[in-house]
Amino acid sequence: MRLLNRKPTRGQELALIALPFLLTAAVYLVFSALRLADNPNDKLLPSPAAMVEAVRTLAFHADPRTGAYIFWVDTFASLQRLFVALGLATGLALVIGLAIGVLPVMRALLHDFVAVVSMAPPLALLPILFIALGLGEASKIALIVIGCAPVMIRDLALRVDELPREQFLKAQTLGASTWQIVLRVALPQMLPRLIDSLRLSLGPAWLFLIAAEAIASDSGLGYRIFLVRRYLAMDTILPYVAWITLLAFVSDAALRFVQARAFPWFAAARAS
């Protein structure tokens, strides 16, 4: 039978899925053990026990001075920034993307500008951003928005373009005004596509968040990673990275779930 037609059984499938994860873990453990045997104080590849210990201290022991549980404070601060920023970016993308997609005048005005802006590396403009917005939450959120929104706007405008022209004509024969077309034809069909776009933006958003927190912050997962990086405290960094990965993965899954639930028509419409 051709390899292409060979489907693993459920059991084989689970084994195959687990394999690369286990392999990665095994490789880590071997190298960690080797390094630790050489130098018990090696910080680069700490033992699992050391990582558990580090996380336990951060997650379950209140900071004596402030009474805060650092791990959770960091997580909360980062997630708050991330969600606020992605919310803003999504809102912007929806409004501007729809405008560009639906209105020829707005397309002329903004399409090329957004295309150029989306190519600019926002990290290099940080000093200006910080001056304009101060060093508080605003500038961190702004960095994420500036990093993610232009791409999302372009994506959404493209998606509006992909709606069959016939839908707009049809709506007009049903008496729809421009506003009504946006509201009842374009917008509801863009919402599930916006979720796709948002999912794609999760990765870059985390990147910008970490970069912003690395520069000016006093809490957050990215802040902590950069703070302890000076000491090469991989026993903290690695669990933090795993935790960020997990958070991103869960957000992604949640978005997919929302998409399937809230827009039952979408999966079929996309397939056809």
Binding site: Q167, A171, Q172, L174, G175, A269
Partner: protein
Amino acid sequence: MSAIKVEKVWKEIGDQIVLENISFELASREFLMLVGPSGCGKTTFLRMLLGETAPTRGRILLDGEPLPAEPDSRRGIVFQRYSVFPHLTALGNVMLGAELREAPLLGKIFGARRKVLQEEARALLAEVGLDHAENKYPAEMSGGMQQRLALAQALMRRPKVLLLDEPFGALDPGIRGDIQALMQKIWNESPLTVVMVTHDLSEAFRLGTRILAFERRRDRPEEKTRYGATLAQDIPIWPRRIAGALKI
């Protein structure tokens, strides 16, 4: 009343002449079938009737007045594909026209008035034979069901003119027969002037009250851009079919 008058209409797209000097008058309540070889400009002509694009020369009058330059609710349309909204259920699709009319701001009706509109929409759905599918999304329907739905949706807004661009071209023959009968019934019962493009001559004879054939007289490659299609034939159907007077 919804008579159409076409006066010396020319249409050029880019530097190609697509249609050349088309003139005819169409009385109210006619069922006009537009036929002609592929690429002769039938769709282009329908798009001018719709107001999506304007004639290069000449003009089109609707009830004696120049046609508005963009689509409006007097002219309903059913395309070959993409005629219903994928994000609305069958009922939502049919109700949309009424909702847009009655709620300029939100495009959505609530409360008691919604109930009334729903009943109206359900009646239309039943008429096109979709009474059991009102909660289905288009993607869950066959092609034939979608085109019926598109008809019901267009009729909800009570257009004076109904434009159809090969609406049944993609359907299976059996289903096609049903929907042709439905089409004739609708034309018969609603105050509609119908213009329908088709590839299928037998369909044209079965449904129409009049058949117009477009044709490119000169179709050699070097002539293609310099001469457009003209009105080659104008065939009234005999015995005459008269809307409302006819039993099928």
